[in-house]
């Protein structure tokens, strides 16, 4: 009997070891991936990066890896996810690599087995909470959810610096605009940041605060640029930085209580038509070379700690107080907060 148990235990150990071996495969080099990708010839990439910026990235990539074309579709996250979901139902996968801003979709797809693991080297050099330890997703870049205010509506010295003041002082009633927090989206991250700073009770008074809700970050920024509302508690930082650099009448606010971080997450579908080319592009974008180029072209921060360059000469992330929320936390808590917020404001 004991002999039998020893044999069974041995078998179980072997199976466990084999499983572990599968969970942590050897990470191929870029050159190995390139050789495999050559036969595929192209990578179908979809995301919210502007066309012209993507073309700059593609030019460098194709110089580095001749023979691998990038077929890019610019689509913001919401319609992109709708398309991917519709395609899934038709048993079709068009995209090899996706760049999304909504953690909720990434977490869901990971659970559903829709994504392929792309083992990544140098994870010790990545910002915390920006990559999945199993390799199913990784932030290609990040941006703080910055506060902004209208320089047309507020004079220097007037803008708030504290989230607590913004959501409790009657002075700011009817002055705030935000992108409506969605279930598990970046705006939920910004809402979590406010809850983190002032407590959950403030949501109950959200309706009285007469907060203007918009569909998406860009509309919230536009509302501040036009002077319709004076302040926003959190918009996609890179767009605010760009708008300010282009001369829009806004200024950035780094809240005393800290900022949430939005991630631009890269994922490869498990049934991607060109899986090696997708892995190659994703891996290359995560190299210091790819990250520096990304920062310079799309004005987002690098997800790597060892890349010093910052967007449009902004201070490094290390100089800002960042409240890092994991994707899972944004999905679970952010979802609940978004629902509560919707109910409170009467949506």
């Amino acid at each position: 009997m004991r002999a039998l148990l020893r044999i069974l235990a041995g078998l179980m150990l072997s199976v466990s070891a084999a499983s572990l071996g599968r969970a942590q495969p050897a990470i191929p080099t870029l050159d190995q991936l390139y050789q495999a990708a050559k036969a595929e010839g192209q990578v179908v990439f979809g995301g919210a990066i502007k066309e012209e910026n993507q073309q700059k990235l593609a030019a460098v990539f194709q110089q580095r890896f001749p023979g691998i074309a990038i077929k890019y579709t610019r689509r913001s996250t919401e319609p992109m996810v709708q398309l991917v979901e519709a395609e899934r139902r038709a048993n079709r996968v068009s995209f090899d690599l996706l760049n999304l801003t909504e953690p909720g979709d990434v977490v869901r797809w990971t659970k559903q087995g829709f994504l392929a693991a792309v083992p990544m080297p140098d994870t010790d050099k990545m910002l915390p909470e920006t990559f999945d330890p199993n390799g199913y997703s990784i932030a290609l870049s990040v941006t703080p959810m910055l506060g902004i205010y209208s320089t047309k509506a507020l004079k220097p010295g007037e803008p708030p610096t504290s989230l607590k003041v913004l959501v409790t002082d009657p002075k700011w009633k009817g002055k705030v605009v935000i992108s409506r927090p969605t279930r598990g989206g970046t705006s939920s991250g910004a809402l979590m940041n406010v809850v983190n700073a002032v407590g959950r009770d403030f949501i109950k008074s959200a309706r009285e605060r007469d907060i203007l809700l918009t569909l998406g970050n860009e509309a919230a920024i536009a509302s501040v640029v036009s002077g319709e509302r004076a302040v926003s508690w959190g918009v996609s930082g890179y767009r605010a930085i760009e708008a300010k650099a282009e001369g829009s009448p806004i200024e950035l606010i780094v809240w005393d209580e800290g900022l949430a971080l939005a991630q631009f997450i890269g994922v490869v579908p498990a049934k991607a038509p060109h899986p090696n080319a997708a892995r190659l592009l994703l891996r290359w974008m995560m190299t210091p070379e790819g990250q520096e180029l990304l920062v310079k072209t799309v004005n987002q921060y690098s997800a790597r700690k060892d890349v010093a360059v910052t967007p449009l000469a902004q201070p490094p992330l290390s100089a800002l107080k960042i409240n890092a929320f994991s994707n899972e936390k944004i999905v679970s808590e952010g979802h609940a907060l978004a629902v509560e917020f919707d109910k409170a404001v009467g949506m």
Binding site: E51, L83, R89, T214, A219, A222, G227, G346
Partner: protein, 577 residues
């Protein structure tokens, strides 16, 4: 109406079917064309809708269930969204009637100055994309920074006079977008109408006013009613404006709620089920039309059509003229000025000054790195093909519905109108699912745009053409047939010229609504098949409102150019849209 055209509800279905079969036997070519048209319309519309309906009947695991349809009643916010949609749509319809009816009558029946200009102005109001005009209105009527509110505050001390972020704000935006539908339908009906009826009334002693109100208006009732159903359903299906304003005003409409069900996380099953009430409203609209118009005679186009005598309004012409100018100023000039103003600014949030003026936004279209040139060509091609397909197909289908006793005309009418108010995003999902695998693997091609847009916009052509055919006496066509003309020849050479105005109106309206179509395109496009609304949306999404505004101006100019080209091609003496 002739006996042939009378859909005899009292005749037993067995006999009606036998008549239909006889009709099929008698003229095989006509039958072939009709069967092909029925199959095309049925396939175009019922196939994707069937896919969606099937999704609504499934659990996420694919098992059959009615739970999604039950959930429509219990899902938080869905019922209130439906009520909001009904309120907004009803109010938009009533206001559109109030605005458009006097304008249409003024253009078609009076000597009011500037009538041709008015037709063009109303067309511009119609072609301004909804998702663009709403931005213009937010910039005009935003409670704090809207230009009109700022003017009233700075000049008269009136703060926050208008608030675009409200249900009334949404009704206003939708009304100014959709009243042209009533205007087009009614002017086309009046243009088509034989003025002899009014002249007879006047000879019998009725004043011009009385002849218009007592004779003309009742005769164009089908056009008024179907256009009202148009507007109601179009308002029900609107998405861009409700999304922008509804969020600010904190309410959902049915379409924004359905869109939300397709997002974060997508709940396709419930979204598909939630779209079902819209089909119900479409059917209700059709039934309403049928009940109201039952037994009434509207054949007012004969072969002796002449120009209507202009009604002398006396001093009333200034009142009517003032009304028309006010409507044009508010619905066309104001949003257009905002668009042009924004398109000429280097940075839109800054002051409108010489330093901030530029033509760079227009020049940027020529850049090789933008999708604008491709989008421009695609939009022109898709809109022209879809408008032409809808009109040709519409003519055949309307003939079947109005001029034959073939069985299944009710179902054909349903198929021809059901997509009218259907949310574009939901319909697009049906097309992605239905055309992503063999034998219909068209996803990623421009062919899918042709098919999907034709399906979505066919109801416009159907309803416009149906109005025209309802007015047309069949005597001329029958005379042609007696003289030996084939069905097709009688249709093309006799009937079509008599309803030329309706045909052109249908083509132009379909062209215009296709040109501005965004909600479907956003799901269907791939690199190389982008359209102008996609390009505009992308610029808005990037925060470059100035370029989006410039491109919107180009889109409007393209619409006007298409209208002028059509006028030139058809050799018309005046525009009849």
């Amino acid at each position: 109406m002739t006996a042939l055209s009378q859909p005899s509800a009292t005749v037993p279905i067995r006999i009606r079917f036998a008549r239909g079969v006889d009709a099929l036997r008698q003229e095989w070519l006509r039958s072939l064309i009709m069967i092909a048209a029925v199959l095309v319309v049925g396939g175009l519309v019922l196939y994707p809708l069937g896919i969606l309906f099937n999704i609504g009947l499934r659990t996420e695991d694919g098992a059959l269930t009615l739970a999604n349809y039950r959930s429509v009643l219990t899902e938080p916010g869905l019922v209130s969204a439906l009520i909001n949609s009904l309120i907004v749509s009803a109010a938009t319809t009533v206001l559109s009637l109030v605005i458009a009816l006097p304008m249409a009558w003024a253009v078609a029946r009076t000597a009011m100055p500037g009538r041709q200009l008015l037709r063009v102005a109303v067309l511009i109001a119609f072609v301004i994309p909804n998702f663009i005009s709403v931005i213009a209105w937010i910039l005009l009527l935003g409670p704090n920074a809207g230009l009109i509110n700022v003017f009233l505050r700075d000049t008269f001390g009136i703060a926050g006079a208008f608030n675009i972020y409200s249900m009334s704000g949404l009704i206003l935006v939708l009304t100014f977008s959709f009243y042209p539908l009533i205007f087009f339908a009614v002017t086309a009906a009046l243009d088509n109408m034989d003025p002899a009826y009014e002249e007879a009334a006047q000879m019998a002693g009725a004043s011009a006013w009385r002849a218009s109100l007592g004779v003309t208006m009742p005769l164009v009732l089908p056009a008024v009613l179907s256009a009202s159903v148009f507007v109601f359903l179009e308002a029900m299906g609107a998405f861009g404006a409700p999304a922008a304003i509804g969020h600010g005003a904190r309410f959902h409409t049915l379409t924004t709620k359905i869109y939300e069900l397709f997002s974060y996380p997508p709940r396709f099953e419930l979204a598909a089920a939630a779209a079902a009430p819209i089909i119900g409203f479409t059917v209700f609209g059709l039934l309403l039309q049928r009940v109201v118009l039952r037994g009434r005679r509207f054949t007012i186009i004969g072969g002796k059509r002449g120009a209507a005598r202009a009604v002398d309004l006396g001093r009333g012409r200034w009142l009517l003229s003032g009304w028309c100018m006010l409507v044009v100023f508010v619905s066309v000039v104001l949003p257009l000025v905002i668009l042009v103003r924004t398109s000429l600014m280097a940075r839109w949030g800054l002051a409108f000054s010489w330093q901030n003026l530029t033509l760079r936004n227009y020049a940027s279209f020529a850049s090789g790195s933008t999708i604008v040139p491709t989008a421009f060509l695609n939009s022109a091609l898709i809109s022209a093909v879809v408008a032409s397909a809808c009109v040709v197909l519409g003519m055949i289908v309307v003939w079947i519905v109005e001029r034959t006793s073939l069985p299944g005309r009710g179902l054909l009418t349903f198929a021809s109108t059901v997509t009218f108010a259907f949310p574009g995003v939901a319909l697009a999902v049906g097309f992605v699912l239905g055309f992503s695998a063999e034998p219909f693997d068209l996803f990623g091609t421009i062919w899918l745009f042709f098919i999907a847009f034709t399906a979505h916009r066919f109801p416009f052509a159907f309803m416009f053409l149906r109005n025209s055919v309802k007015q047309l006496s069949s005597e001329m066509e029958e005379a042609g047939r007696v003289c030996g003309a084939s069905w097709a020849r009688a249709l093309v050479d006799i009937s079509a010229p008599l309803i030329k105005s309706g045909l052109l109106a249908a083509w132009m309206v379909v062209f215009a609504v296709t040109l501005r179509e965004l909600s479907m395109a956003i799901l269907l496009y791939v690199p190389g098949t982008e359209t102008l609304p996609i390009a505009i949306y992308s610029f808005i999404d990037n925060g470059t409102f100035e370029i989006a505004a410039a491109l919107s101006v180009v889109l409007i100019l393209l619409s006007i150019a298409a209208m002028l080209a059509l006028r030139w091609l058809t050799g018309k003496a005046h525009m009849e849209l």
